[in-house]
Symmetry: C2
Subunit: 314 residues, 2 copies
């Protein structure tokens, strides 16, 4: 199955693994790329030395294309960029910042650049500055999230209508049916987070992986919603944040006090249910087992094909 | 095209027009039914005398099946039920309340009963008490909305997996692509609100209809979110509510003060942009014209078929 996105990355199947803090190191990224999808090393929780190590290990573990995701707002962004270019990584996903900010360096190094967006305006901006594609992420996605709360179902067709570059759908995609829905909307690939977070190769804590498996449809909540929204599992810490937010409101300063104290590490990497932020999307309700990344890719493609067949003969 | 839902209602196409306050009277409902879909008279903004008049007029204007939507929490629910049964209306959509509350009366009168749900638990409950189908409505929908904020993309497959009765997808569906996405997720019909609100037969004010046409992807907001969430166009009144809510929190009493003062009537029926609540979904960004209800049905089916064809040959 080929689309403009599989051509762009030179991959076999239009499934991209999302860069996720404390989850997507070299093990997960190389496993996804070896299975024919696009694996992505998530630099969000890595300093430049650690990123270097992960990129080198990914290179050794796969001969297939892989990428890296970097939040543009990072203070040490220059160091991260130097590592990426020095390691000859050719696929870069940028998020959390102006897409034009460092694009020239990447383009000069021959990289394909994809920006993560959450509304039409950001998608148009990404196209204007020369991005090769956009990853459009809906409200149901885990982790950091757009302020306007536009869902994947609403977001994808509106962005597809607005831009000429290919659109990768993100948020809520965890099986073949949700993948097929994204394609029905005009997406040319899907970016999958939560489903890959609960794989054998995910570097997250086993307790966190099991919490994804156990989560039901209404078990995630969005907090810090007017500042820098974060979707995570409803747990004692997140419920406390939500209570404070709805009763008293939330300021950026107070958010920094609450969120920035290693909460993601605590929840995802240390498996601390009470005090951490266990970021995951609403699609956690569709995840029922911890399997290998290759099994995720193969199962999604099989489900996609059978759902597509069913749809075409209705 | 037949599904369990088209069989259940004896309709030609699996498109159901949502019951909408100040929008879906006899004109819209009969136009949708005459076009082969299922028109629904929305009783939410009608007292029993007015409902009687609208049901009689719908009966005169179409020989096709049509339905009625009633909020179960209404104080005068007994009067509304008497009118519905006396008029021999055979399709009833219930919302905002326990689905078992009045189901026996409807079942004894030979009605098909569909309950509107926003999570898996509610869907299971509706099935248990004997509903014939559920309409599962996601976070992107206009008007009243579920507390858990589950999006259509996440909600539909999880409900399809949980229940045996057919699932009607609602929220975010305004064209053939979004309809196709709902079917990819396992829905057997779609319920469409905002797209039908901007039709010639909609009883809403012209200013409101034009505001739907003008709305872009991020132009709706959800307010009263921890009490009784409402999605509407961002306007001076809703922005004031949102500001108060995020800075000071919101109580049920304060919501009643703000919301209950005829705000929906003001926004939708009187076209008051400054002071009303102009309820609409995120799919307003996909609505670009005011056309007839029949044109909506025909266009959606044409788009659905061409999107399905494209998907099957990818």
């Amino acid at each position: 199955m080929t689309t403009r996105v599989t051509d762009l990355f030179n991959i076999q199947v239009p499934i991209i693994q999302a860069g996720m803090v404390w989850v997507s190191g070299w093990k997960l990224a190389s496993a996804v790329s070896n299975a024919g999808g696009l694996g992505i090393v998530g630099a969000g929780s890595m300093k430049s030395e650690l990123l270097l190590e992960h990129l080198q290990k990914t290179s050794s573990a796969t001969s297939h294309p892989f990428g890296v995701n970097i939040p543009l707002l990072r203070g040490d962004i220059g160091d991260l960029i130097n590592v990426i270019i020095s390691q000859n990584v050719k696929i870069v996903f940028t998020s959390a910042g102006h897409p034009g900010r460092h694009i020239e360096k990447f383009k000069n190094a021959g990289c394909v650049v994809v920006h993560v967006v959450a509304n039409v305006k950001q998608a148009l901006k990404a196209q204007e500055v020369g991005c090769d594609a956009v990853a459009a992420e809906g409200f149901e996605a885990g982790g950091h999230n757009g302020l306007e709360e536009i869902t994947t179902l609403s977001l994808i067709p509106q962005i597809v209508d607005a831009v000429k570059i290919p659109v990768i759908a993100a948020g809520g995609i965890a099986d073949g049916r949700t993948m097929l829905a994204a394609f029905a909307l005009g997406a040319e690939a899907v970016q999958v987070g939560t489903r890959f977070a609960a794989t054998i190769e995910s570097s997250a804590h086993e307790i966190y992986k099991q919490k994804i498996v156990d989560a039901k449809d209404g078990d995630t909540i969005l907090t810090y919603r007017n500042i820098l929204p974060v979707r995570a599992l409803k747990n004692p810490f997140m419920e406390q944040v939500q209570k404070e937010e709805t009763q008293k409101g939330m300021t950026r300063e107070r958010m920094m006090e609450l969120h920035a104290k290693g909460r993601e590490r605590k929840g995802i990497f240390e498996g601390n249910w009470e005090e951490g932020e266990m970021e995951m999307g609403q699609s956690s309700g569709l995840v029922h087992d911890i399997i290998s990344a290759a099994d995720v890719v193969n199962r999604m493609m099989n489900e996609f094909e059978s759902a597509r067949k069913k749809l075409s003969t209705m």
